[in-house]
């Protein structure tokens, strides 16, 4: 379930280093707890939905056939509400979500200029490290933080037929192993460490317009679906992000 309203675009930090780009935008976060994980997942009809700023930085080293890409991604969400199919109600104002993630991707362009001049298809593999923390205010304050590491496969295509602009789409699917730490101020005994796993699907589209020989302006849209299966705590969440940024190529 996605809950992005009209996205607000933020301007951007320019990093004056070769092969770097920085983007900022707004990201929505939508969470549903799951009672039964086996497909089809039995998820809550009500979602805990919030949004907030997002920032990500990418460093890429590439040639015509392959690319190494490093990505750091931060996002924070607040202003949560409980969104059902008919009824919506505000969640406590102290509810928060924070996410930080790093990825390394190795990508090979396996088909170049085959179907269309300037169209390349790529396959890649990612290593992922991530941390998600949620704070939810009820009778007490419940916090849980999951830390994970995993791998993902990437299928991507880029179109760079014209000198002024280029576009890319990427579809990523992966699995991670998780450690989760739950606390609740209701009772110190609620402090537990749990283990589990997660899956993710990302779909990203970006387009770049060259501002000069080395600098370009990039707009991107990302939609994710993710699920965590942890002992007595299964949930799915989705994110949707619009961002704009600047890339500086050496």
């Amino acid at each position: 379930m996605f809950a992005l309203g009209t996205p607000l675009l933020y301007t951007v930090v320019l990093l004056a280093q070769a092969g770097w780009s920085a983007s900022a935008g707004r990201e929505s976060f939508s969470y549903r707890d799951i009672a039964r994980s086996r497909p089809p997942a039995d998820a809550s009809p009500v979602a805990w939905v919030g949004s907030g700023p997002s920032l990500f930085v990418v460093h890429e080293r590439a040639n015509a056939r392959r690319a190494h890409r490093f990505n750091i991604d931060l996002a924070s969400a607040g202003s949560f509400e409980y969104a059902g199919p008919i009824v919506r109600s505000d969640a406590p104002s102290a509810d928060r979500a924070f996410r930080v993630e790093g990825r390394y991707e190795y990508r090979r362009y396996v088909l170049r200029d085959r179907v269309l001049r300037g169209l390349d298809a790529a396959l890649g593999i990612q290593g992922i490290a991530r941390r998600l923390s949620l704070t939810r205010r009820g009778v007490g304050t419940a916090r849980f933080a999951s830390t994970g590491a995993g791998v993902a496969g990437v299928a991507a295509a880029r179109l760079h037929r014209w000198s002024r602009w280029s576009a890319e789409l990427a579809w990523t699917n992966g699995l991670t192993a998780l450690r989760e730490h739950d606390t609740d101020s209701i009772d110190p005994l609620a402090d537990v460490h749990l283990a589990g796993g997660s899956w993710l699907t990302d779909f990203a589209i970006s387009a770049s317009a060259h501002l000069s020989k080395r600098a370009s302006l990039t707009a991107s849209w990302l939609r994710t679906g993710e699920g965590h299966a942890v002992s007595h705590h299964n949930y799915a969440f989705s994110r949707q992000r619009m961002a704009i940024g600047v890339t500086y190529d050496r």
Partner: protein, 255 residues
């Protein structure tokens, strides 16, 4: 289907459609009318038995909401969304008379099929209790306590399917009871007879609350499966096996 074929099918499905399409939650339809009780927003399909029964179910659930907090000596201020489906097919459940709860988002789903009787009242009360209990106490960590407590706290104001029913059930089903050491093991919980496991857990948790009160129960509530037996001994000053014998004797006298 063998495990290998199933695994291959899952890998192919993931490759073709993505993890989210296969493993992610489905969208929620909007074909609902909403009845607002004091503490619940009850969603029902328009023109159905559930819609006609929403007012009565709201009364039962509002009573349950207050009774559970009294019994736990704890408070919960959230408003709960209940979704009452026509039948198992409508809810995508495997069985009729089923329900699931979603404490993090203060919601539950359940089938609401005629007649409007104690079985239906107990079903929605059990699912609502999951939300109220986790809202008031935080997350439990064993199936035995989570499921047992949700039934042990069912109010007997509108129907008899509360603690005394479970004491009688225990007395009447002594020969088929499962050892508590098996039931507190989360690894074994999925493999035991669920009807017996749910009723037995409810009976034992109701006994603990009635004889020892909620304060001690809260000290074992957060225990994980592997540490529950030891924690139980520390809190109650006797082993789980000794408590099991005392509980069975209690049910013989009160059932």
């Amino acid at each position: 289907m063998t495990a290998r074929r199933l695994g291959t099918a899952i890998v192919i499905a993931l490759a073709l459609t993505g993890c989210n399409r296969v493993l992610g939650p489905s969208k929620v339809d909007k074909n609902w009318t909403v009845f607002e009780s004091t503490y619940f927003s009850l969603h029902t399909r328009p023109g159905t038995f559930a819609e006609q029964s929403a007012s009565v179910l709201g009364q039962v659930l509002d009573d349950q909401y207050e009774a559970t907090q009294r019994a736990l000596n704890a408070s919960y201020g959230g408003r709960i969304s209940g979704f009452l489906y026509n039948d198992a097919a409508d809810a995508n459940f495997d069985f009729e008379h089923s329900g699931t709860a979603f404490p993090d988002t203060a919601a539950f789903r359940a089938t609401a099929t005629p007649p409007l009787d104690a079985n239906l009242f107990a079903l929605v009360a059990h699912e609502a209790n999951h939300v109220i209990i986790m809202g008031a106490l935080g997350r439990g960590n064993t199936h035995f306590i989570d499921e047992g407590l949700a039934s042990a706290l069912i109010s007997e104001r509108f129907h008899p399917l509360g603690p005394h029913f479970y004491y009688q059930w225990t007395k009447a089903h002594r020969s088929r009871l499962i050892p508590l050491t098996t039931l507190i093991d989360d690894g074994q919980w999925p493999n035991v007879d669920h009807s017996t496991a749910y009723s037995e857990a409810a009976s034992f948790m109701a006994y603990l609350l009635e004889t020892q009160g909620p304060a001690k129960m809260r000290q074992i509530y957060y225990s994980r499966s592997g540490e529950l037996a030891q924690r139980f001994s520390q809190v109650y000053g006797r082993s789980l096996a000794e408590a099991e014998s005392a509980w069975l004797a209690f049910c013989d006298g009160n059932g």
